[in-house]
């Protein structure tokens, strides 16, 4: 069943892609093939393979229970927050929190997650910024 849905989504994606390809503006200085042809070929392959997946599905994968899905979703939200807040609050603070969060959700104890958070952010800061000179995001405190 999962594969049938996957195939349908893929087919819709292919149609959307083909549609977007048709919208590409042709330049007046185009070569013989033009910018549309190859994307349309790709859309065709994408569409056919999606249909085959939908028509000849494999056995369904084992989907995690809802709370596990929520877990992944929460991690994604934390990562998005991390990406957005990085330039605002600076590298060390943001990284310490994000790493500690992940360590917590993977089942570390309180002491461990504090250590993982601080260790990761300060360790990376020391190696990448102080030793290798990579410019990391600067927060209000300059780190």
């Amino acid at each position: 069943m999962s594969d049938r849905i996957f195939g349908l989504v893929g087919a819709l994606l292919a149609i959307g892609y083909a549609f977007a390809a048709m919208q590409i503006e042709e330049s007046f200085l185009s070569d013989v093939v033009g910018p549309k042809a190859f994307p349309l070929i790709i859309a065709t392959v994408l569409g056919i393979s999606s249909l085959v997946i939908a028509l000849r599905p494999d056995a369904s994968p084992v989907w995690p229970p809802l709370n596990r899905l929520a877990e992944i979703f929460a991690a994604v939200v934390v990562m998005i927050l991390y990406a957005e807040l990085l330039p605002e609050i600076g590298f060390i603070i943001a990284t310490a929190f994000a790493a500690a969060y992940l360590a917590w959700r993977l089942g570390s104890s309180v002491l461990e997650l504090v250590l993982v958070g601080l260790g990761t952010s300060i360790g990376i800061y020391a190696i990448f910024h102080l030793v290798l000179g990579l410019s990391l995001a600067r927060g209000p405190f300059g780190f």
């Binding site: 977007a20 390809a21 093939v33 990406a83 330039p87 993982v116 990391l136």
Partner: protein, 512 residues
């Protein structure tokens, strides 16, 4: 002779203090990454790419660092297979079969030593194979025109699913998805934006490094979150190594096995779509059929440890042949290495050998040196790496995630790229659930634009005649191989895969 003098020049390049230090660092990090379950060669190399860039390395040193990681990971995978019965990466899966029983008999040290020697023999011979075979392949590749290149790329995609693929539709889907992503951005030939939906960030196209790190490294983090086997601690009672010197009789007994397996593994590496996992699988199966007369395979036979290790290390060397000579990688990790080369503005392929011989031969010489370093690290110092296995994933995975973020941010300094990477991480997780291979996606985003340019050039040369694609015997031959390679798994795939999967536990599902 010409080849040997080129190789000598290569040694002159590789033997600088900086390059030696990088090779040493790469070997060390690679062995650790290989040994840790959850980090394999492809995601190991992927998260280290930013490191190579931030150190401001030139093409040759960067490649030396990253291919040492690649070779190192191939060595390291065996450590946890033997000690914990958990393969450190997919190619090391077969090593569990005899390695773990040997460890249970108290022969862990000897198993580690034999497999270390086998790894050395495999990759040493394969590096010689690379020296001899790659220049020959270059001579053929120089005959290629745009139409042949287009066919070659098609061949790479159609065979990439590999003979062990169970669902060719999913491989094709993955390749098309990768190509579709590559089309995003301004068209190089006419300058019109495509699939950018007005988003300025997308005009340059998607950075394939972002895609690689997201698909390989972040999706691994999600897999761990889903299963939360972060608590699986390395059990210290199992980590007794014991005597590290195998008796001479054991070495003598395993020598023919190593030689045969190296040859087979190398072959599996050179062929597109096979890669190291298949290399170790066929080496093991063949040895079992050939020499297992008393039924000792699977119960701790040293030959059963030597065969897959020689096989997968030889395949790692073999996979570099098409990557360097044709610019078409045959496995996940070589695809990642290709991404490195492309980001350094170096296009692998036949011209690389004439235009940048220093890169090619310096790299090959460094591989020889790295091999000796790895042998030294992996036998006397193996105790050091067994300690690393004690780090549980619940501590390792946050570090992996943060290093990925830092690396990508360090290259581009934009939050937008981080968001794209998270998107790819989620996509990678979903696709892995559906058993869609990730390597064709990477290859598609890497090669999409070159493939399209070759298509357009071929047709433009022939004034818009699409039949030019199947005009030369060479092109027809390539198409024939491509179609054969695509159809073959439909016939033998299911059987092969199921016998490979008999041993479950595959931790790193990013294939190599």
């Amino acid at each position: 002779m010409e080849t040997l003098s080129a190789l000598a020049d290569g040694f002159a390049i590789a033997l600088t203090w900086q390059n030696l230090a990088l090779a040493l660092l790469g070997c060390f990090l690679g062995t650790i990454m290989g040994a840790l379950p959850g980090l394999g060669p492809s995601n190991g190399v992927a998260i280290l790419i930013p490191l190579a860039f931030t150190m401001g390395l030139g093409p040759t040193p960067a490649l030396i660092l990253l291919t040492s990681v690649y070779y190192g990971a191939m060595y390291g995978g065996r450590i946890s297979s033997i000690l914990l019965n958990i393969p450190g990466d997919e190619p090391a899966m077969m090593t569990c079969l005899d390695g773990y029983p040997m460890a249970q008999k108290g022969l862990a040290g000897q198993a580690l030593a034999i497999s270390g020697i086998a790894s050395f023999v495999g990759s040493f011979l394969a590096t010689w194979g690379l020296v001899l075979l790659a220049p020959q392949l270059v001579k053929i590749a120089l005959l290629f025109g745009p139409a042949e290149y287009f066919a070659l790329f098609a061949l790479a995609f159609m065979t990439l699913g590999g003979v062990s693929s169970t669902n060719q539709a999913k491989s094709a889907f993955a390749a098309a998805l990768g190509l579709a992503l590559a089309m995003i951005g301004v068209d190089t030939q006419t300058g019109v934006p495509r699939f950018t939906f007005g988003e300025v960030h997308l005009y340059d196209g998607l950075d394939f490094l972002v895609a690689i790190v997201g698909l390989f490294a972040l999706s691994e983090v999600f897999i761990f979150l889903e299963n939360r086997h972060g608590g699986a601690d390395g059990d210290s009672t199992k980590l007794k190594v014991g005597r590290l010197t195998p008796p001479v009789s054991m070495i003598r007994e395993t020598t023919p096995t190593m030689l045969r397996s190296s040859f087979l593994g190398f072959l599996a590496g050179v062929l597109p779509g096979a890669g190291a996992s298949l290399g170790s699988f066929i080496s093991y199966s063949m040895e079992k059929r050939l020499v297992d007369k008393k039924g000792t395979f699977g119960k701790g036979d040293p030959r059963g440890v030597a065969a897959p290790e020689a096989g997968n290390n030889a395949a790692a060397g073999g996979a570099l042949v098409p990557m360097l000579a044709l610019g078409v990688p045959g496995s996940g990790t070589t695809a990642v290495l290709l991404a490195v080369l492309l980001s350094l503005n170096i296009t692998p392929g036949p011209l690389l050998f004439s235009q940048n011989p220093d890169v090619v031969w310096g790299l090959i010489a460094a591989l020889f040196i790295a091999n000796f370093m790895l042998l030294a690290m992996n036998i006397p110092m193996v105790g050091l790496f067994t300690r690393v296995l004690m780090v549980p994933p619940r501590i390792l995975m946050p570090v992996v995630a943060m290093v990925s973020f830092v690396g990508i941010y360090g290259i581009s300094g934009s939050s937008f790229d981080l968001l794209v990477m998270i998107g790819f991480g989620v996509l990678g997780w979903v696709l892995r659930k559906f058993d869609v291979p990730l390597v064709p996606i990477i290859l598609g985003t890497l090669l999409g634009n070159t493939m399209e340019n070759n298509l357009r050039r071929a047709i433009a040369i022939d004034n818009g005649d699409w039949f030019t694609l199947i005009d030369s015997p060479l092109a027809i031959g390539l198409w024939a191989v491509a179609i054969f390679g695509f159809v073959l798994p439909l016939i033998v795939g299911r059987r092969l895969k199921s016998s490979m999967r008999k041993k479950p536990h595959a931790e790193g599902s990013t294939k190599d």
